[in-house]
């Protein structure tokens, strides 16, 4: 008898836990408990920007990327509400922000999903703050690229309690390294993929580094496009392989190279020793070999 009682008790306890789990529906549009810092992306940043805009601190676009504009808005908010001015949205700052502002997550995300031009200032009718985005330049971007660009963000986030800003929704902006556009990155990714798609990862970073080293060097053109399209500089350009669609790995390699990784030791040239016929290239001081390529000064 007592055993049954025990079992019953256990079952009741378990179901109580289960009930609790299901009782509180997950609030989709509230801050998760991460500390949000400059460079972050995702829903938490959207909420942060919207709330700061609601009380008039943030005048930029609500785009889900924590850039400089958001940073100053947050610092000014922290200053006025005598919080620690650190530009980090920690627990205290978030609580204060939630206390003094409102956030209609459903509305904001709807605007973002529709691609509308919108603002979120408090005290003004929301309907007046949004208008459909004017179609710019015909929008001839093939939708195909979209899937390669953002696979990371698109990954289905299972509906568990992942305490981060990762969602199925996309942000309307992305981080880019200072001084580079996504287009520059894509162009380089094309070149890297065309030149070194069969190489190990560091070999791809290395080819991207050589392109950047040439841009820096005084004896080569001063732009990424100039270096890549320099006649006879890259075989992939000459034989058209540059126009193959690059994969994510090539793009990551380019990003690493732009962010400072250079496994070549500042090489300006590389060649495949099995196919190189130019005696001149063999005479360059060699730095090292990565994969099939020899890198030299």
């Amino acid at each position: 008898m007592t055993l049954r009682k025990y079992i019953l008790l256990v079952i009741i306890c378990l179901s109580a836990i289960g009930l609790q789990e299901t009782y509180f529906p997950k609030e989709v549009d509230a801050f998760t408990n991460q500390v949000i810092q400059r460079g972050s992306t995702g829903d938490d940043v959207i909420e942060l920007q919207a709330r700061l805009q609601y009380i008039g601190y943030y005048n930029g676009k609500i785009d889900g990327v924590f850039g400089w504009g958001t940073y100053w808005a947050l610092r000014n908010f922290q200053k006025d509400y005598s919080l620690d001015i650190d530009g980090l949205a920690g627990l205290k700052t978030r609580q204060k922000l939630v206390d003094v502002s409102k956030f209609d997550g459903k509305w904001v995300h709807e605007q973002i999903a529709k691609g509308n031009d919108f603002t979120y200032y408090g005290g003004t009718d929301l309907a007046k703050q949004t208008k459909p985005k004017a179609k710019a330049g015909g929008g001839s971007t093939p939708p195909k690229q979209q899937s390669t660009q953002n696979t990371g963000n698109q990954k289905k986030s299972t509906n568990n309690t992942a305490n981060t800003g990762n969602t199925e929704r996309k942000t309307t902006a992305v981080n880019v390294p200072q001084g580079f556009s996504q287009n520059d990155i894509n162009l380089m990714a094309n070149a890297v993929y065309g030149e070194a798609r069969g190489e190990p990862y560091e070999g791809q970073v290395a080819v991207a580094s050589v392109i950047l080293n040439r841009v820096e060097s005084s004896t080569f053109p001063n732009t990424v496009a100039g270096v890549i399209f320099e006649p006879r500089a890259f075989t992939a350009v000459a034989d058209g392989q540059i126009w193959l669609t690059p994969n994510d790995k090539a793009r990551e390699a380019v990003l690493d190279a732009i962010n400072g990784w250079d496994p070549t030791g500042e090489a300006l040239y590389y060649f495949n020793p099995d196919t190189a016929t130019s005696s001149w290239i063999w005479g360059r001081p060699q730095i090292k070999r990565i994969g099939k390529h020899i890198f030299c000064k």
Partner: protein
């Protein structure tokens, strides 16, 4: 009857093929001509620019008032950069033409420095005037040589497409006037190279402290392998491959790599002292589980563990599910921009998947940082009054002349844009102004 039908069908077929072939041929020709034209344009522009540049250098020397030089210098500088762009468009890559390019960029550098200098306060020295005269006569030689090539090319109707072919096939017998002409130009300049070494055109100061801080015993391959296991975070035996750098390397390195299913890791470590310069781990990064901020804490602990002292975070960015953090060295409250390292953290499980410390080891040393002569308030007066200053720091940066200078770094807003402004802490000179972007509309999204 049947025969006639067959004959007509064949005739139509032949005619059609001929027409198609002719059209293809014409199209091919059109494209070839277009390419040829691009080359021709670049070549003729180059010749013209060098000629003009020669004239301008001459005028500059002849100018009586040295103070009027700045616009002239700027003009020469513009011409050198245009010439370089044109050289870049010619199919010369396999032809050793880099000495000429270097020569051009030397002139450019010299004139740029003179152009941005206040020639009222600091007129051209006699030595610099000598340099200018030297450059004048050298530019004259190059001009003559190029004009010669141009003349022969035009007279004989030479094609750049043929140059390209000759270079591509590396045919020894090919007697190509253009190639030979360019080789002569290159030879001439090679002869000058040494003559210019002592002139005012010389390397930048950042050359001085190459890997100064790399000390210690030379480590063996075994030690390097052992160390790499620690950095790769692998415990069991693995097939690691190790190679050494060749003669061209600035500093001798061991490169260690290993790969397994879905994962590849690569490490550069200095032979002397065994310092890590580059670490790259390539693996698929799963769903984000930790925040950018938590990733930062991991990165910070990691660099402290690897003996990078007094580093402060300078920037952080999230790219999909990877966090990239840059740190710069802070010497007694002064930010030293040159001594930078970057760390990459996978935001799925917090693994370190990248480190680059090349800049740090290249530049790092204890600097003799002077006391600033201006106060932060004084320095603010030199900033555009429309900029709302938000943050300020003391920093050491490398300026346009390649010298390390002590500056006040102001971060401020002008409209919605953020700017980083460097004001020399000694004389208030505005060393550098940068617009900070770091994000962009997601063209692929929505």
């Amino acid at each position: 009857m049947l025969r006639w039908i067959a004959i007509i069908a064949l005739a139509v077929g032949v005619a059609g093929t001929a027409a198609w072939g002719y059209k293809e041929h014409q199209e091919k020709n059109a494209i070839l001509i277009q390419a040829e034209n691009t080359y021709q344009r670049a070549f003729h522009e180059l010749t013209y620019n060098i000629d003009l540049m020669h004239d301008k250098i001459g005028t500059a020397i002849a100018m009586n008032s040295r103070e009027r030089l700045s616009p002239e210098m700027a003009e020469i500088w513009r011409l050198t950069s245009e010439s370089l762009a044109n050289v870049g468009q010619l199919p010369l890559t396999l032809l050793p033409f880099n000495k000429t390019e270097e020569f051009l960029s030397n002139i450019g550098e010299f004139t740029y420095r003179t152009a941005i200098r206040d020639l009222d306060k600091e007129p051209l020295s006699d030595k610099e005037l000598d340099t200018l005269k030297n450059l004048y006569s050298q530019a004259g030689d190059i001009k003559d040589e190029l004009r010669q090539v141009q003349h022969t090319a035009m007279e004989n109707n030479l094609r750049w497409m043929d140059v390209q072919l000759a270079l591509a096939t590396e045919d020894e017998q090919a007697d190509n006037t253009i190639i030979d002409g360019f080789k002569t130009v290159e030879k001439k300049i090679e002869g000058y190279a040494e003559g210019n070494v002592d002139s005012a055109i010389s390397g930048t100061s950042s050359e001085n402290h190459k890997y100064e801080n790399i000390q210690g015993e030379k480590i063996s391959e075994e030690q390097a392998l052992q160390y790499s296991k620690d950095l790769f975070n692998i415990k069991e035996e693995r097939d690691l491959s190790i190679t050494e750098t060749g003669d061209g390397a600035d500093i001798p390195l061991y490169s260690i790599s290993f790969s397994e299913e879905n994962k590849r890791a690569y490490l550069d470590v200095t032979q002397q002292g065994g310092y890590p310069l580059t670490l790259l781990v390539d693996r698929p990064v799963g769903e984000q589980k930790i925040s950018l901020n938590e990733g930062f804490e991991i990165a910070k602990q990691y660099i402290e563990k690897h003996d990078f002292k007094d580093m402060e975070m300078f920037n952080s960015s999230q790219y999909e599910n990877v966090g990239i953090y840059s740190f710069i060295y802070n010497q007694d409250g002064v930010r030293v921009f040159a001594d930078a390292i970057e760390v990459k953290v996978a935001l799925d499980n917090g693994d370190i998947i990248g480190l680059t410390a090349n800049n740090y080891y290249l530049n790092h040393h204890e600097r003799d940082i002077p006391e600033p002569e201006l106060s932060s308030e004084d320095a603010r007066d030199f900033v555009n009054p429309n900029v709302e200053i938000q943050e300020d720091f003391l920093a050491v940066i490398t300026n346009d002349l390649g010298e390390e200078v002590l500056v006040y770094e102001f971060l401020g807003l002008l409209g919605d844009d953020t700017y980083r402004i460097f004001i020399n802490a000694m004389d208030g000179h505005e060393e550098k102004v940068e617009k900070l972007n770091g994000k962009e509309i997601n063209y692929a999204g929505i």
